[in-house]
């Protein structure tokens, strides 16, 4: 059933590639998106050189790899997907994002890597119809707080 395993080449063959590697940081959430040629293309993930990964995300590349692997194994254990033939429909793409969780004093608590789907590549009506979002009503919070205070 789970024929899908990450295959990662451990050679550093591609460090000489002249491709552009950039990372952008979302200022609100603190997540890094790595727009990396090596990550995006190819069937293998060659080792980025340490310099690049550290410079871009502040995360050592070995750690990035380790986090991606553990994340992937969780997703596979959850039975998130099965490999299938390429159907003739819209195929959504995905991205890895990275984040370093820090404690209040600035020391590193843990590294995180997360696989996210690119929701905007979904097509309305084909992939989804109505969307749902939890919306907070202001008075709910105030009322609950108020009751909690009044009743200690």
């Amino acid at each position: 059933m789970f024929t899908f395993f990450p295959c990662i080449a451990t050679s550093s063959q591609s460090t000489s590639h002249g491709s552009s590697t950039t990372a952008t940081k979302d200022s609100q959430s603190g997540w890094f998106r790595c727009h990396c040629h090596y990550l995006r293309s190819g069937t293998t993930l060659p080792l980025l050189n340490l310099y690049h990964s550290l410079l871009l995300t502040g995360m050592p590349f070995g750690m990035m790899l380790c986090m991606m692997r553990s994340r992937l194994s969780i997703l596979i254990t959850l039975g998130l997907w099965f490999l299938n033939f390429h159907p003739s429909m819209n195929v959504v793409s995905s991205r890895w994002v990275y984040r370093i969780k820090r404690r209040v004093d600035g020391s590193i608590e843990r590294y995180k890597a997360c696989l996210i789907a690119r929701g905007f590549t979904q097509q309305e009506d084909n992939d989804y119809s109505e969307t749902f979002r939890l919306v907070i009503k202001q008075f709910t919070i105030q009322l609950v707080f108020s009751i909690a205070v009044s009743r200690n």
Partner: protein, 302 residues
């Protein structure tokens, strides 16, 4: 979904992943999470509130617990602390969660407990907005600009409307604890489609005001009895652009204001009485809505 970048199966490179569950940022993700969450909560005896989708209530005669779910922030309160602790343990079996103790930061709102009750303020959020605009060192002002002066004027249109809309949107969330800027923000919102330079100046003025009042907040005090009180007021034909009236209401629960709205009325009133009645109708509708909500919360009004 395409195979994850960097982890493409070398033997089957042209295959794709057929998703059986939802993944982050898919349009279905929030719905899937909510269904999962609510199914679990209902299975352990919680009741979903009919009025608000993100409130769950558990009651067993003597004790009552309220649970607010906001995507991945959960706020739990109840009348029995020992049972509350057990409930948290029960939740942590199903959901991977961390108990952060007493509430101090929820959805960008800081909560401080005082001797009299709770103080809600958005100090950090205001500083974030000021940093975004680059106005952290602006000179604080004591008064807000008069909302009546914010009108359609023959002025040059503001060069960056997107920025304008972003800041106004951010200010709108701030009305959660800053009732005083509620009306002026509502007024500025009316020009979102075509902001002009003087509107941007107003925003700056609001920000200067906020810089001086970052610690202002919303004090929830202990009330002696549970009662709802509504107040309304109108300014007939107050808007000089279209002569619509300005109206507002404020609903108190016990001694705490819980619901309010200050802004332009939707219809043109031909007399001040008509404007007053419109505001009264809005207020009454809100009070009735809150009454239903309190029934859900199993609170009896006195």
């Amino acid at each position: 979904m395409k195979q994850p970048p960097g982890f493409v199966d070398s033997t089957l490179p042209s295959h794709v992943c057929k998703l059986h569950k939802s993944l982050y940022v898919l349009k279905q993700a929030l719905r899937a999470w909510y269904t999962h969450m609510s199914d679990f909560l209902l299975s352990i005896g919680f009741l979903a509130s009919k009025v608000d989708t993100f409130l769950f209530i558990l009651s067993n005669g003597t004790n009552i617990f309220y649970l607010l779910v906001c995507v991945n922030d959960i706020l739990l309160t109840g009348s029995n602390s020992a049972m509350l602790y057990r409930l948290i343990q029960l939740l942590s079996f199903e959901l991977k969660l961390r108990d952060l103790g007493a509430v101090h930061y929820f959805l960008g709102i800081e909560v401080q407990s005082t001797g009299m009750g709770l103080m809600l303020h958005q100090h950090k959020y205001i500083l974030n907005i000021l940093t975004r605009v680059g106005m952290t060192s602006c000179k604080p002002v004591d008064t807000l600009v008069s909302p009546l002066k914010i009108t359609i004027l023959p002025d040059t249109s503001f060069s960056d409307p997107t920025r304008f809309r972003q800041i106004v949107g951010a200010l709108q969330y701030l009305t959660f604890t800053h009732l005083d800027i509620c009306f002026v923000v509502n007024r500025v919102c009316q020009f979102m489609h075509a902001p002009i330079d003087s509107h941007w100046a107003t925003i700056k003025h609001i920000l200067c005001y906020l810089n001086g009042t970052t610690s202002y907040g919303f004090h929830i005090t202990r009330g002696s009895s549970f009662a709802l009180h509504g107040f309304t007021n109108v300014d007939w034909a107050g808007s000089i652009d279209d002569r619509k009236s300005t109206g507002g209401y404020l609903v108190f629960f016990s001694q705490t204001p819980i619901s309010w709205k200050f802004g332009k009325q939707r219809m043109v009133a031909r007399s001040s009485t008509e404007a007053e009645y419109t505001a009264l109708a809005d207020d009454t509708a809100k009070v009735i809505w809150l009454q239903y909500f309190l029934i859900d919360l199993q609170v009896t009004l006195v």
